[in-house]
């Protein structure tokens, strides 16, 4: 009962377009007033300080800053052009390079919007040049971009890890194989579409082995950064925060090497980082407060009683949660959706007996699906914004096949949890 009311109040408050951070705090205050005699608002000061000075969460601004520097370092364009040489022989040509670039960029970036926007800006000019099916081309960019949060590093995984007390290195390890499989599934989607309708695949791009070897060094900077940022975590040399800090240094070195380091650039980097960080931090403070209220009023125990009372099987609970996210994902902003629901859905799924690392990866896949499902899908807006012509519906239709690929991936990890759990068990 309380769980239903809590979720209802949350949806009404957030739905009334109150800023999400404040909305969650208000829901916390309302639930506190209704169900607990203790005035928990007194904890807000301590909570805000403890949350924002948390060393693990420092990884968030570091990854944001890392991305901001990388964006200005010219790595993305060169990487894209090199991948064009290596991947465009496949039916579907550049569309495979789009997905490959997104996967590679996603493995150094922790954000899906940044990945879609960066690769989108680089790739957009190519649609007309090679006469691709515009919708499918746009779909590869919107969908490919979502790989940014599945392939580590991932800002969303850090937030999930901190909110649910789950190991972030384990989440990162767990994300790798699903990220790789999903990349292949996306490419297969393009391949099938272009074998079915060869016209969609555009004109062949002339490449040569000579060109391929010449552009190969352009793939090095992202690969080296990938090794530093991810390798350090996997082999236990550094924590997520430390490896993000090393990533910043690496990105600065690359920017300097390309002659793009300057005081003006650093100022823009600092400002952009703080602007984005503050938005995330505000929501986190609100969510942590709501989380404490929910724990204090005993919602978690009520949820497990609920499961027992209705004799729900684990699969039914999981099915309900997946359904909830697929529905919410169509109209809610993705980051807010994730942060505001974690305090309610995670205890429910864990009570049903699922592993927190596995659910973290499932949650990321559901968020990815939300990012490309209309009417509200942030990556759809980003790609349409870069395109700057035509109708939004083109991107929505183009993304549809990739939504199916994502649903297949979700079904895969539900049927074979080993895909997710293999790496954290073997290395963790």
């Amino acid at each position: 009962m309380t769980a239903g009311i809590s979720l209802g109040v949350l949806l009404v408050v957030l739905g009334s377009s109150i800023a999400v951070a404040a909305g969650m705090a208000m829901v916390g205050l309302i639930l506190n007033e209704a169900y607990s005699p203790m005035p928990l608002s007194r904890m807000m000061g301590e909570l805000a300080w403890a949350t924002t000075s948390n060393f693990i969460l420092t990884a968030i601004p570091f990854y944001i800053m890392f991305g901001e520097i990388l964006l200005r370092s010219g790595v993305a364009e060169r990487m894209y052009n090199a991948l064009v040489q290596w991947l465009s022989w496949l039916p579907g040509g550049l569309m495979h390079s789009n997905i490959g670039s997104c996967a590679l960029f996603g493995s150094v970036s922790g954000s899906s919007v940044a990945t879609a926007a960066t690769i989108g800006v680089v790739a957009m000019g190519e649609i007309d040049k090679h006469k691709y099916n515009e919708r499918l081309f746009l779909g590869t960019l919107a969908a490919g971009g979502t790989l940014g949060i599945l392939i580590p590093p991932s800002i969303n995984m850090i937030i999930y890890g901190v909110m649910t007390d789950t190991s972030i290195p384990k989440l990162y390890l767990a994300g790798f194989l699903p990220g790789f499989i999903l990349t292949v599934l996306f490419s297969l989607t393009v391949l099938i579409a272009c074998l079915w309708k060869p016209r969609w695949g555009g004109r062949r791009i002339e490449t040569s082995w000579q060109e391929r070897w010449r552009t190969l060094p352009d793939l090095l900077p992202p690969l080296v950064l990938l090794l530093i940022v991810i390798g350090a975590i996997f082999f236990g040399f550094a924590t997520a925060t430390e490896s993000a800090a090393v990533g910043i240094l690496g990105a600065l070195v690359i920017a300097a090497w390309r002659g793009r380091l300057s005081l003006a650039m650093l100022r823009a980097v600092c400002e952009g980082t703080v602007h984005t960080t503050a938005m995330v931090a505000a929501i986190l403070v609100g969510a942590f407060f709501l989380n404490i209220v929910i724990q204090t009023i005993g919602l978690t125990q009520q949820l497990s009683q609920l499961i027992r009372a209705y004799e729900l099987t684990p699969a039914q609970v999981l099915g309900a949660v997946i359904f909830l996210y697929l529905v919410l994902g169509t109209f809610m902003e993705e980051l807010s959706m994730m942060i505001s629901t974690i305090p309610i859905t995670t205890p429910l799924v864990l009570q049903a007996g699922y592993d927190p690392v596995w659910f973290g990866v499932l949650l990321v896949l559901l968020i990815q699906t939300a990012m490309i499902s209309p009417p509200f899908g942030i990556n759809i807006f980003v790609i349409q914004g870069i395109r700057g012509r035509g109708q939004l519906v083109d991107v929505e239709v183009g993304s549809a096949p990739f939504v199916i690929a994502l649903l297949v991936m979700i079904a895969l990890i539900c049927a074979y949890p080993g895909i997710v759990m293999w790496a954290p068990r073997a290395f963790g």
């Binding site: 200005r72 600092c270 703080v274 602007h275």
Partner: protein, 202 residues
């Protein structure tokens, strides 16, 4: 009051750059720390505390920047379907009021955290033993500034409403549509790439 807002924007902007610089310095300190740890088995210690403080201070100062740029995330599914401009203005004021209240509560109790550190002379746990009142003071200042900016915006929005200039209210505190948000993100990315390119050539 417009002048006041320009001043507030200037301060937020400066606060964000300083906050970002703190984060950058913290990241580089961590790199030095890691290097010393593996090269000489030494630790300077305190790098993790410093980066935590950098995050707390920069996000407290970033709150006001995000408020002035209307970029605190709002879910506008219902908002965009509300046709009445009066109702929209009411929702905007409600959202701003809640943000101000939230910021006010955090700042109010944040003051408690600061004065407790002052009274008990708390120091950070690591080797640097920095008195906590320094980072907490800067953090609290950022929160207090956020509340002032929120009050200023409420005053300006209400005045615009009374004077019958709803467009001004929407410009000040209206919900940005997701499409606007996406466009801004893209502009900043395109700008960043262009900026890099031209500098790369020279």
């Amino acid at each position: 009051m417009k002048r006041l807002q320009e001043i507030a924007e200037g301060i937020s902007h400066a606060g964000a750059i300083v906050g970002g610089a703190l984060l950058l310095v913290a990241a580089l300190t961590i790199c030095v720390d890691i290097f010393l740890r593996y090269a000489f088995s030494l630790t300077i210690g305190g790098a993790d505390d410093l980066s935590g403080y950098a995050l707390a201070i920069s996000s407290a100062w970033g709150f006001s920047l995000a408020l002035l740029r209307r970029s605190h995330i709002r879910i506008d599914t219902v908002y965009v379907r509300v046709k009445s401009r009066a109702a929209r203005a009411a929702l905007d004021l409600l959202s701003l009021g809640c943000l101000g209240l939230f910021g006010g509560l955090v700042a109010w109790h944040g003051w408690g955290v600061l004065s407790l550190s002052w009274a008990s002379n708390s120091h950070s746990q690591s080797a640097i033993e920095m008195p906590l009142i320094y980072p907490q003071g800067l953090w609290f200042a950022g929160l207090a500034f956020f509340v002032m900016v929120a009050v200023l915006l409420v005053a300006r929005a209400v005045r615009a409403l009374i004077a019958g200039r709803p467009d001004e209210l929407f410009r000040l505190i209206g919900s940005k549509s997701a499409v606007d948000e996406a466009e801004e993100e893209i502009k900043s990315i395109e700008h960043a790439m262009e900026e890099g390119k031209t500098r790369g050539r020279t």
